[in-house]
Symmetry: C2
């Protein structure tokens, strides 16, 4: 590295990270109507809008009434975060986690390709089965593969371990919207659900799912 000097400032832009956050959240609050959402979802929806770059996403946000409390208390108690992709795991801001929580993605487990082939499903779905007992009480986030979300629901409906909360935000054109409806409507018996948070429709993705996790991890907007 021959030299390390700041380049000549040639554009007019905000360079203070905290100030960028403050202005962004103020713009989001000014432009979006969060009144249809319960109070404890407002900071979560604000972060999802921030990740989407679109206030219109608010109308697609839906949640079980207990999801914020359930996810927060699980994370404070040290629950792991389980994700369907490494990109999503990478988007979790570690300093926001209340208990240095483990963030786990099993997609590269060497058993995954064989299980996927044997079961006739995707690697992302097979990887969900490798969460094993860690699923019990965990906070799960799916930001990529609808098949992973369907597989998780099938494990739960088979009587498998129940997570504390599920962030369901797969993106895409095939199965994505349907998987999120399935999560919002699942019934473990007698109307019992695992608390859930979704962005309905085709949109979603690792960035929005990570934003949701980061907002669930702490109430502090600027942490």
């Amino acid at each position: 590295m021959s030299e390390l000097a700041a380049p000549t400032r040639r554009y007019d832009y905000v360079t203070d990270g905290q100030e960028i956050y403050r202005r962004s959240f103020a713009m989001i609050r000014a432009e979006s109507d969060l009144s249809s959402l319960p109070r404890d979802l407002h900071t979560i929806a604000t972060r999802i809008v921030h990740a989407a770059g679109d206030v219109g996403i608010v109308s697609e946000v839906a949640a079980h009434r207990d999801v914020v409390a359930a996810a927060r208390s699980a994370l404070r108690a040290g629950a792991p975060i389980l994700t369907d992709s490494h990109m999503l795991a990478s988007g979790v801001t570690r300093r926001r986690l209340p208990a240095d929580n483990e963030v786990v993605c099993t997609l590269r487990d060497p058993r995954v390709p064989d299980l996927a082939a044997q079961w006739g499903t995707t690697r992302a779905a097979a990887a969900v089965s490798l969460w094993g007992d860690r699923l019990d009480g965990a906070v799960v986030a799916v930001g990529n593969a609808p098949t992973a979300l369907f597989h998780l629901l099938e494990l739960m409906l088979d009587g498998g371990p129940r997570p504390a909360a599920v962030v369901g935000m797969p993106v895409g054109f095939v199965g994505s919207a349907e998987s999120k409806v399935a999560l919002a409507e699942h019934d473990l018996g007698g109307g019992v659900q695992v608390p859930w948070l979704v962005v309905h429709g085709r949109r979603g993705g690792s960035a929005m799912a990570a934003a949701a996790l980061n907002a669930l991890a702490t109430e502090d907007e600027l942490a």
Copy 2:
């Protein structure tokens, strides 16, 4: 792990990864109008739509006429990919890269916090300066921080190393749209530009930037 059996299939969904891709891309082509884009951008725009979960994003895609050829030939020749976030680096599908290209994110370099404080800018912007000589001929992608994109343009306008191509897709409410206009309009003298690819407006993000990189890396849609 007590047992590893597939759960009971309870939902009707496509489980073949390649088939999901094929159907997704067919739906995107059926629903979107790519006619305003040059032919060599069609597969790139299709992947960006796929990552966005929204065909409406097509109208925001814009590019320098040489960007696909420039990025492909740089990657084939072994150029590194430089990214502004670890999440974006994590979204690059390594098996699509033609020369086992290095993917570099300098955000966690220990010099970053001090440089950012000293220069009065964000860590993401300071990290761009740590790309150093690797920037020369590299393929750059910015999926998060507008300040990183402005900083890169300022380095280039100061006469610094020139990348082969820049994917500019920061997301957000403060500076994002402006940074992409600045990239699309930069002039290194006599109208010379580094080839660029942007998603104009507030939208963008690591997922769309990774999709663009993955599409630039190989023409094979199903790789």
